[in-house]
């Protein structure tokens, strides 16, 4: 198993190519085989990491500086394991989601390629190879978003493509500056070779700007909400949980491993932290304002990415960055699980109810109890309540801030948690509302209300926004019957669709049956695979905090400033 590092990448890559040649029904089998294979390969990697610490694998046998090396440390391994576990969950979900749909023929090869690219990113020690991976992931994201097939998805995909190209070009320019200044591309050795000066500063600025654009950090997040909200549900989960972490991972390597030895990064770190704080506040506030479930979750991603960048303000202290590193990697890990579960749950809601409008989620808790439970449990992790993974991550971040006496950042983190609580409870409150109350109660309340407001509201209810209930509701519409049995809601002219849905002066029995069908009881219950994969990922995010100790120890393997100044030197001799 000496070749496990490269096989971890090659297995999904070759499976993706094979799945293009075979009938597409076999693709899920190839994916399952890859899950078993890569899972089996991760075990020897783990054992070796525990036994001997960080290690290298020379592709092409040339070694540094001529060739490309793989380099595995604890952070990289945690990311690999996270990728495996999340893809297992997302694959399970996609199996049910894409069953019998033509998009499946395209989805599985793309998913396998995403896997290969992510594994490659977390293993490579070469900053140019990272650029190639960024291109892979960027184009894959575009194709995956476009899988939705709607014009909204196409425009979101194109916008993402432009943003990603801009980000990649910026990053490539930075890598070119690094290479021309140092003559090497290996991030483990760069900190010893690179020299201080305007070149290094400009290189760091370019690389960071490119990566911020790609991971949608606050002022450059404009592409994210539409891209993540318009993609198919498994793709949204993939994008929000794993793809945005990819560019953050590179930024982490740059800011923690390469440039602290070269530049006075502690001057620039707080700037990134401020952007992160802006992202937390702005993303959370915008999440609160959304009226579509998927958009709310997408803005929550903008906010949660802010925490990752607040970390850069906390890590710029010379003594020991390991606690802060543990905190942020673990935070990224638990956010990935929680966010994937939220998007997958939103996909189930959209499938079952036919929409994801927050205003019409009432009754959701009765119809989809496991999904609403998953929302709650994953939300606990986003807010950062014990025992979730988000709690451990956030606790460690706040702990670092307090020990460094950086009260401002501790405050930002705390406020972010409150805002996350606000938008999570916005989802839960709507979903747990009684299915009958928003439609039925106004009818009872307005028995004596004047009915002359009816003509204003009736055409609106029969409009295109409510195709299914409107047919029920407008069936007995006959304004002449109105005055006798006036069950007209008092606020028909208000824009609230939940109330204006039944402006018809129907008799009480019809009103009740109309209200019942408003939560479409005729729709089939969602596939069990969809529900239980969502539930599993949410529970993982929730219980991750209890299992935090060992991952935290893993992250410390090969962390900068622990052990030798140059991790990996003892292997290269």
């Amino acid at each position: 198993m000496n070749h496990a590092p490269v096989l971890v990448v090659l297995l999904p890559l070759l499976a993706a190519l094979t799945s293009l040649l075979l009938p597409y029904r076999l693709a899920p089998w190839l994916f399952s085989g890859c899950l078993a294979g890569v899972g089996g390969l991760l075990i020897p990697l783990y054992q070796r990491l525990i036994a001997t610490g960080v290690f290298r694998y020379r592709i092409g046998g040339w070694g540094w500086p001529l060739g490309i090396d793989f380099y595995l440390d604890g952070t990289g391994f945690i990311m690999l394991a996270m990728t495996w576990a999340l893809l297992a969950g997302i694959g399970w979900y996609s199996l049910a989601y894409f069953r019998g749909r033509p998009a499946a023929a395209h989805f599985w090869p793309l998913l396998l390629l995403v896997w290969a690219a992510l594994d490659n990113l977390f293993l490579t020690a070469d900053v140019f190879n990272m650029y190639v991976t960024l291109e892979l992931l960027g184009l894959l994201s575009v194709a995956l978003i476009a899988l939705a097939g709607t014009s909204d998805a196409f425009s979101a995909a194109l916008r993402y493509l432009l943003a990603a190209l801009g980000g990649s070009m910026c990053y490539l320019l930075g890598v070119a500056m690094i290479y021309s200044a140092s003559g090497t591309l290996d991030w483990v050795f760069l900190r010893t070779v690179l020299t201080e000066g305007p070149r290094a500063a400009m290189a760091l600025a370019l690389v960071t700007a490119g990566l911020m654009l790609k991971s949608a950090i606050f002022p450059l997040h404009f592409w994210l909400p539409r891209a993540h909200a318009n993609a198919p549900a498994p793709v949204s989960a993939l994008l929000s949980s794993l793809m945005v972490k990819a560019s953050f991972y590179i930024a982490l390597r740059m800011w923690l491993w390469i440039f602290p030895g070269v530049l006075h990064t502690h001057v620039a770190g707080p700037l990134l932290g401020l952007l992160g704080a802006g992202a937390i506040l702005y993303g959370s506030l915008l999440a609160l304002r959304q009226d579509r479930l998927k958009l709310l979750i997408a803005y929550s991603t903008v906010a949660q990415l802010g925490y990752l960048f607040v970390f850069f303000a906390l890590s710029m202290h010379p003594e020991d960055v390991t606690p802060a590193l543990q905190a942020v990697v673990f935070f990224a890990l638990s956010h990935a699980f929680a966010k994937a579960a939220l998007f997958m749950g939103a996909g189930v809601v959209q499938r079952t109810l036919g929409h994801d409008s927050l205003d019409r989620l009432a009754g959701c808790a009765q119809r989809l109890p496991q999904i609403v439970f998953s929302f709650g449990v994953a939300g606990v992790s986003l807010i950062g309540l014990p025992p979730s993974g988000g709690f451990v991550g956030k606790y460690l971040l706040i702990d670092t801030a307090i020990r460094e006496r950086q009260w401002f950042w501790a405050g930002v983190l705390a406020v972010g948690g409150l805002l996350a609580g606000a938008y999570v409870f916005k989802i839960l409150a709507r979903a747990m509302a009684d299915g009958l109350s928003p439609t039925f109660a106004p009818h009872l309340a307005s028995i004596t209300a004047p009915s002359h407001v009816l003509p204003d509201g009736a055409p609106k209810a029969a409009g295109d926004t409510f195709p299914a209930p409107a047919t029920v509701a407008t069936g007995p519409t006959a304004p002449t019957e109105g005055p006798t049995t006036s069950f007209t809601p008092p606020t028909t002219s208000a824009p609230d669709p939940g109330i204006s849905r039944h402006p018809t002066p129907a008799p009480p029995a019809a009103a009740i049956s109309a209200a019942m069908t408003a939560v479409p009881a005729e729709a089939a219950p969602p596939d069990r695979g969809l529900v239980w994969s969502t539930w599993t990922l949410a529970m993982t995010a929730f219980l991750l905090g209890l299992l935090a100790l060992h991952p935290l120890q893993m992250i410390a393997i090969g962390a900068p400033e622990t052990g030798p100044r140059l991790p990996g030197s003892e292997i290269l001799k």
């Binding site: 070759l14 592709i59 793309l110 390629l113 476009a146 290479y179 002022p219 404009f222 702005y282």
Partner: protein
């Protein structure tokens, strides 16, 4: 000010996601202009401060060239020293085609037929085609000693395919699905197989033994040329040229105007 560079930022950062098509305000445009100008000045300053002789890897490349299996430094770097990058770059090209397939699948808009060429142009393409094939083969072979190789030869093959398409000689459904998929992936398959064969020799992935390196590089480049050529043609056509797979029907012809 380069307008394209500021293009992705034209959406104000706080824009409502539904506010599409709204012209950015004067303040945003002004800020973008100032930002881009400052960025350009800083970049120019950093580039001017680069040393005239960069501490590159030229010396290392020269030193290891005899063991690389090729006499061309570019080929040695592309296929041997940093062959792994090239393997992934071939994958990038494949993904671009897969992305086009995805978009074509969901699109209801039929592709307008290519502009008909006159008889003179068609005759010219007929004469040119065999020479282009020979030229591509020459570039591929020359890559062993001079600048050239898979990407250049593949570009020539791609140009040939585009000419044939424009001349009407390359119709829709020109070949089977499996053939097309096989050619699209054969470059990556061969590259990976060559790399995995090295494991059998007890080396790491892609460590070509010097005795066989030349032959392996030629094989990788030859299959890569085919794949790159087809990928470029399909990107130009904007979709698959293969026969209709049964599960995914194409848009029917009556949708065309």
């Amino acid at each position: 000010m380069d307008p394209t560079r500021g293009a992705p930022r034209q959406i104000p950062p706080g824009a409502d996601p539904t506010g599409e098509g709204r012209a950015p305000s004067l303040l945003v445009r002004l800020l973008t202009g100032v930002g881009v100008t400052a960025f350009g000045v800083l970049l120019a300053w950093a580039i001017l401060s680069l040393p005239p002789t960069a501490p590159g890897l030229l010396h290392e490349v020269r030193e290891h060239l005899p063991r690389s299996g090729t006499k061309s430094m570019v080929t040695a770097v592309l296929i041997n020293f940093r062959g792994y990058d090239t393997l992934l770059e071939l994958t990038v090209l494949l993904i671009a085609v897969l992305g086009v397939f995805v978009i074509r699948q969901g699109s209801r808009v039929p592709e307008p037929p290519p502009m008909p060429l006159g008889p003179l142009a068609r005759e010219f393409i007929r004469v040119l085609a065999p020479f282009l094939v020979i030229f591509a083969g020459y570039l591929l072979w020359a890559g062993g000693e001079h600048p050239g190789g898979a990407f250049q030869a593949g570009a020539i093959l791609g140009a040939l395919g585009i000419l044939l398409r424009l001349g009407g000689a390359l119709p829709d459904r020109a070949w089977g699905v499996l053939t097309e998929r096989l050619v699209l992936t054969i470059g990556i398959f061969t590259f990976a197989a060559a790399g995995l064969a090295c494991l059998a020799w007890g080396e790491t992935f892609l460590t070509f033994p010097p005795a066989h390196a030349g032959a392996m590089i030629l094989l990788i480049e030859a299959t890569g040329t085919l794949a790159i050529g087809l990928i470029l043609v399909l990107l130009f056509v904007g979709g698959s040229l293969a026969g209709t797979p049964p599960a995914t029907p194409r848009p029917t012809p009556e949708a065309e105007p």
